[in-house]
Amino acid sequence: MWKFLHQLASPPHFYRIAPKFVPWLAVPGLLLVAYGTYAGLFLAPIDYQQKDAFRIIYIHVPSAYLSMMTYMIMAVSAAVGLIWRIKLSHAVAAAAAPLGAWFTFLALATGSIWGRPMWGTWWEWGDPRLTSELIMLFVYFGYMALRAAIDDTTKADKASAVLALVGAVNVPIIHYSVVWWSSLHQGATVAKGAMDTDMLVPLLINIAGFTLVFGALLLRRVRTEVLFRERRTRWVKDLVLSAEGRG
């Protein structure tokens, strides 16, 4: 196990093996998303209060979950990179940030679209869940801007890792905001088991599908990040020259 992890942390080894995992994540992920979406739109019964508008959760919940999970991946990778100085960890953090920002945007946009018919407003500034999720989007932007502003990769890794760790405080705030404060946003539904099985199963399928698709996208982005960081090394030169030779 340790030998496998040690090998995986080696940039050339990771670059070689990552593409083998991508189809195993992307294909089942897309199939699950396709079926979960179909079941959520056409098979799940209508909610007695929200009517058909509740079907937005089949996009909103997976994207909101991924926005937080991606942040945790980013923060843990940043911490591992800072403590053990594993180069691949910083590459993972850097590659995860844009994906996290996109899923946070999707969670905010779909939440806002759902809020219009349900709450009568697109946005409510006083709501802690909405505001803390928006802060997370700004933290993602700040992380990416900080990385882009520093040319030296090592310095950029360290500075952005500190920001990622500080910003991790926001994750439990988002999660527990509906418990700690009065919020328009509904409380935990899935964890409490308050959903009907016919509604819950498509949601769980979509969460699993989105996670697998995210995994495939992250692997591809990390691979590119590794290539960029190692662009001056011998193995990258050999890789490009051998590819040209074959072409």
Binding site: Y58, T224, L227, L241
Partner: protein, 53 residues
């Protein structure tokens, strides 16, 4: 037709699903674009070094 209008909520529901497709396509497209750019930059750099030598 009823499945499309969804009792007046169709525009909200369908726009969310369309937005999700757009976001996933953009994520995939940007990942491919960056991969191509990084690879091409390395090729150009190696070629320039080769010419210089």
């Amino acid at each position: 037709m009823d499945k499309i209008s969804m009792g007046g909520y169709g525009v909200y529901v369908w726009s969310c699903f369309a937005l999700a497709v757009v976001v996933l396509v953009i994520c995939d497209w940007r990942a491919r674009l960056r991969q191509r750019r990084v690879y091409r930059d390395i090729e150009v750099r190696i070629k320039a070094l080769g010419d210089h030598e």
